[in-house]
Subunit: 370 residues, 2 copies
């Protein structure tokens, strides 16, 4: 990708051809199974990518915050799911009421108190907002126990909200060997919650699950929609989980070799023989690193190299013994561990197609944490 | 801090009274020892904080990138040290030339090739840029071996750059029990480099070291200036290194309890008895977590609680058995592990004094990675 030679580094570069392929493939996979696709836009936060997802058949978008919903609603996206157990202040309720005049809005709740508070804060507008009860399917983050789903749904209903269904985030699928097992837990939890809700008289039309590691493994026996995010770009976590291939990587960070050490001077046992320093530090790659990851990201074209440490503007790369150490000034392309973090660190990205710079896209919803 | 009840969360809040005390104390400490203070502005990236540091006697600022230098130079800061081994493209050289017309600029180099490239790229303007050779004092990131300093300085001199001295970043001080030992390594490395340079005929007027863990331990026998950054705010890393006290914490993230679990339903061994979820996830706290840290940040007013996991919009907090679990909707204040990362995630911050909201400051140099 010759354009990488010309940009100031570190620079996030999106390969539009690979991006489009990823978007098309996931849409086809989900459609073939009779599921609906509601991609999580927190991954990219980019209007142009949302447009591509919707054009490929997504029924709407998932977002994490009211702020993200506002950005996409203002762009004209008319169906947005804030997949989060919102706790509304008066000011936030007002924003949600305004949102509900622009788009079909659904939100999460995971507690009786949460449902009551949301309903009360929304006041007369509660009936315009659909609610999905969040279920914990084993990740143990937010989400009600499936056995508590009826009381939460009942509270939401009594607070004037429209209960549409249930959702879960099977985040414990982010570990080697876990995705298949976690898909089963996800389906079991959603099935249990659905059965209880149906018995209590609720019409459970949405059963929402899935994330990038599990979305393509999910069947349609229980789940009705999936919410993968990372699949648009791929990243080093998905590579090492074997949930994407090197050819699926659409986002890299162009970086420059600014320092290198070809011999060790190991005075306190922490030196490493052949290392180099890239200018892509944690302020562009992020420091997300699960225990099973082999490093802080991977290098395209150098799969044996490992990023052993990150500081804000330095990535320390240990180089395999058998390969020549890149020269100072050489440009390398880093695959971040977690693309959602990287996109949230930059204001815009370079877009390439067939190796040429074709566009720059703003990260329109960057930093919209509330 | 009653203002924390009113802001949308997550929200970075700076206590101006504590900030001013931290700035004054470090300035006095450094001055008493006859050292010069050149605070690292990558920590805060805020013009109003830079003004306070300079008013308290800082001789200039340290920054990490040309982009950060541009923001502060445009604000009128007239002495800026880019403490980084820059590798210049033609476009970056042009920016550095422009910078040198607005402020006294010094930069780092750590290799013969780097020095030659920088000198050649700067062309006629090389003489306006001062150079400090970066030395590795044991952190093993960037920096030349002290024994190689003369050849790097010679290359810089021959390339037309003005060699002013040496600098080091003793980053391995960020570990319990390390700061005192690392101060000694820092001084030994700078002393060795200075001796060699002096013998080779260089006039070494700047010997720059120090960071928040070591700055107050550094004496003036070798070092002439220190570059602490984090001291303005303090953070959970400094707390746990015992390099600041709870009363020194000037930056917290106001967060809302959005989910809670008072009993366990431990089906796969990962559940925890009493946990709550805050809306301050990794997109505001960052995921920097050294192996010795007790969690992903600390809670003011609840020192026994631990943040055991972070995802983008969720902080999982395990609550001590003996304390009542906060209610849903309650506001808590989180001390991030690493404030430099937190500041780079937000566009502006709320400023309080005596518990009242008094200002909002823009994070003017946020995202200036190149």
């Amino acid at each position: 990708m010759s354009v990488v030679e010309d940009v100031p580094t570190p620079q996030v570069v999106i390969d539009q051809d690979v991006l489009d392929r990823n978007i098309t493939r996931m849409a086809a996979n989900v459609r073939e199974k009779g599921l609906r696709l509601r991609p999580h836009a927190k991954t990219h936060k980019v209007l142009q990518i949302a447009d591509r997802q919707l054009a490929a058949g997504a029924v709407g978008l998932t977002v994490a915050t009211i702020g993200e919903a506002e950005v996409f609603a203002d762009h004209g996206v008319d169906d947005l799911f804030i997949a989060y157990p919102l706790w509304l202040t008066e000011a936030q309720a007002e924003r949600l009421r305004r949102l509900s005049t622009k788009a079909r809005i659904s939100i999460g709740v995971d507690s009786v108190e949460g449902a009551r508070t949301v309903g009360a804060a929304l006041n007369g507008a509660a009936g315009k907002i659909a609610v999905l009860v969040e279920i914990d399917s084993g990740h143990h983050r937010s989400g009600a126990h499936p056995g508590s789903v009826v009381e939460v749904a009942q509270a939401a209903h009594e607070a004037g909200l429209r209960v549409e269904g249930v959702f879960t985030f099977p985040g414990h699928s982010y570990a080697p060997g876990m995705p298949q097992q976690v898909v089963e837990q996800e389906q079991a939890a959603l099935a249990e919650a659905t059965e209880l809700l149906t018995a209590a008289g609720f019409d459970v039309t949405r059963r929402s699950g899935g994330s990038t590691p599990t979305a393509t493994l999910t069947g349609s026996s229980v789940v009705t929609e999936v919410r993968p995010g990372v699949y648009v770009f791929g990243d080093a976590q998905q590579l090492e989980l074997e949930r994407c291939a090197w050819d699926d990587i659409a986002l890299t960070v162009a970086a420059t070799v600014v320092s290198r050490t070809d011999v060790s001077f190991n005075d306190i046992g922490r030196g490493s023989p052949r290392r180099l320093i890239l200018d892509s530090g944690s302020k562009v790659l992020g420091t997300d690193r699960p225990a099973w990851a082999t490093g802080h990201g991977r290098l395209i074209d150098h799969p044996e190299a490992r990023i052993t440490a990150l500081s804000e503007h330095h990535a320390t790369v240990v180089w395999p013994e058998e390969s020549p150490l890149p020269a100072l000034g050489e440009r390398l392309r880093v695959v971040p561990n977690h693309v959602c973090i990287t996109m949230n660190l930059v204001d815009d990205v370079a877009v390439v197609s067939a190796g040429q710079l074709v566009d720059r896209w703003a990260v329109a919803a960057r930093g919209r944490n509330s």
